[in-house]
């Protein structure tokens, strides 16, 4: 691609941003554990109603990225903007380059409440029933009244194909059912973006399908989602955009068709080749 084309693409991007500003903006994100640079310079954007799949080998920083975006980890440089709210206090210019200063706690909390996270190993509350797992935060955090929280929870369970399970405890459910409960629990707070950290990795192979189907349904309903996954076929089918990470950098990003079929990137080719052999 020549330089003229490059700049025209950029101009095009800017005009697009002006018309529909993305709901998630990640700029120059850097994170290290001691001397280990886990995230080296991550930038991407996601529009509302779109699905982003993040793929890459183990240790590439996918999960750490997700944990930074959901505030379970802190990052050292860069910025994350969710629905117009910045996680860091910005100095001069668009993004800070040095050690970041995080926004005040109330802003971070607002951002956190507008993002939901589905964990690899569910992390349901074992001492609470399915319904209590779903209604706890809406009642205690959002201040919804009990009846409306329960009604919403029941409709979510119906959507997840879990009717009649509301009085069960998590230990009485299969892994796939537990993961569907945890998706419902995250949805109960009506998040603007839903993050998934390898949602099917802890499941028996025959149970992954039911969880992937739920996520596909959510995509059809235009739920904004960021999904870290090792399910390549799923990553391709469900996403509007795919991000391939390796060794802490975004090696390639684009439409599923571009990343899976057209990209000439060597590292991506090696990675995808490994998967097709399995």
């Amino acid at each position: 691609m020549n330089s003229v084309n490059d700049s025209s693409v950029e101009i095009n991007d800017v005009s697009q941003n002006a018309s529909s500003s993305p709901i998630l903006v990640v700029k120059h994100l850097k994170k290290s554990f001691g001397d280990l640079h886990v995230l080296k310079d991550i930038s991407f954007e996601l529009n509302a109603g779109e699905v982003l799949s993040i793929i890459g080998p183990s240790g590439s920083g996918k999960s750490t990225l997700l944990r930074c975006l959901t505030q379970l980890e802190t990052f050292e440089a860069g910025n994350v903007r969710v629905d117009g709210k910045d996680m860091v206090l910005l100095g001069v210019g668009e993004c800070s380059s040095g050690p970041v200063k995080y926004a005040p706690a109330n802003i971070l909390r607002e951002i956190r409440l507008s993002t939901g996270l589905v964990f690899q190993n569910f992390n349901l509350f074992p001492h609470l029933t399915v319904l209590q797992n779903l209604t706890l935060a809406p009642i205690r955090v959002l201040g919804e009244n009990r009846d409306e929280a329960r009604e919403h929870a029941r409709s979510l369970l119906k959507q997840m194909g879990l009717e009649g399970k509301e009085k069960s405890y998590p230990c009485e459910l299969s892994g796939g059912q537990q993961q569907r409960v945890s998706i419902a629990r995250a949805l109960a707070l009506k998040p603007k973006i839903l993050f998934f950290d390898e949602p099917t990795s802890a499941l028996d192979p025959e149970l992954t399908g039911e969880v992937l189907k739920i996520i596909k349904n959510l995509a059809e309903e235009r739920m904004t989602m960021v999904i870290v996954t090792h399910e390549m076929a799923f990553a391709r089918d469900v996403a509007n955009k795919v991000l391939f990470m390796d060794q802490g950098i975004v090696v390639e990003q684009g439409t599923p068709d571009f990343v899976f079929n057209q990209s000439q990137n060597k590292r991506l080719a090696v990675f995808l080749d490994r998967f097709s052999k399995i």
Partner: protein, 219 residues
């Protein structure tokens, strides 16, 4: 048999004192133990180290000695400083038992709290629960289930440990039984006292088995 009808009311009176020591000790030592457990997990060394020292002294010296130290120590302290402050016998026993058992409970509770997976905190955090809500609604209920068996052990030991209160002449069950032993010139009253302790602990065991069953509604 007429011996027994004389003996039982006397021992019953002592048993009531025993129960009072038992009940008050639990009342104070369990919340105190929880507080100490939380302090022992503090990020700050200035908090953690003194608490560790306190626990090691409480567990490393005889309770008998601690009772004596609290009772006579407070007496000498008020003599020395001139401040009017010393424990009567019964309150001294309650203080000694409470701070001693709190140390044991603290270690049990700490183990329970630390056994809760990190994912539970992370899930609560993502749902926007405050730290207090996370502790009281998510962590503590799960800790209770995990610490019941170990706590049952402590509670049952406490029933028998109350007999140490006689060292500063608190007239609990065992002290009175010993007095009767001298009066009767027979160890028979001690056996009867033993039956009191045994029945109390039998009832407690049944209670704890019931509680464990009740808490078994989830894994």
């Amino acid at each position: 048999m007429s011996d027994l009808s004389n003996l039982l009311p006397i021992l019953w009176g002592g048993f009531c004192t025993t129960l009072a020591i038992f009940g008050l000790t639990l009342l104070f030592s369990i919340p105190l133990g929880l507080l100490i457990a939380v302090l022992k997990m503090s990020r700050y060394r200035v908090v953690r180290y003194p608490v560790s020292f306190y626990i090691s002294v409480m567990r490393g010296t005889p309770l008998l000695l601690q009772i004596v130290a609290i009772y006579f120590g407070s007496y000498y302290l008020s003599e020395y400083t001139g401040v009017e402050f010393s424990f009567d016998r019964f309150p001294a026993v309650i203080v000694a038992f409470s701070i001693n058992y709190a140390a044991y409970f603290a270690e049990i509770f700490r183990g329970g709290i630390q056994s809760i997976p990190r994912g539970q905190y992370e899930a609560a955090y993502m749902l926007g629960l405050t730290r207090a809500q996370t502790f009281y609604r998510i962590i503590l209920p799960q800790v209770v289930k995990r610490v019941v068996p170990a706590s049952a052990n402590e509670v049952i030991t406490l029933v028998k440990d109350t007999s140490l209160a006689q060292v500063i002449a608190v007239t609990e069950l065992f002290a009175l039984a010993k007095k009767q032993q001298a009066a009767y010139a027979s160890i028979y009253p001690l056996f009867v006292a033993g039956i009191f302790y045994y029945i109390a602990n039998l009832l407690l065991s049944i209670l704890f088995a019931y509680v464990e069953r009740k808490l078994n509604y989830y894994k």
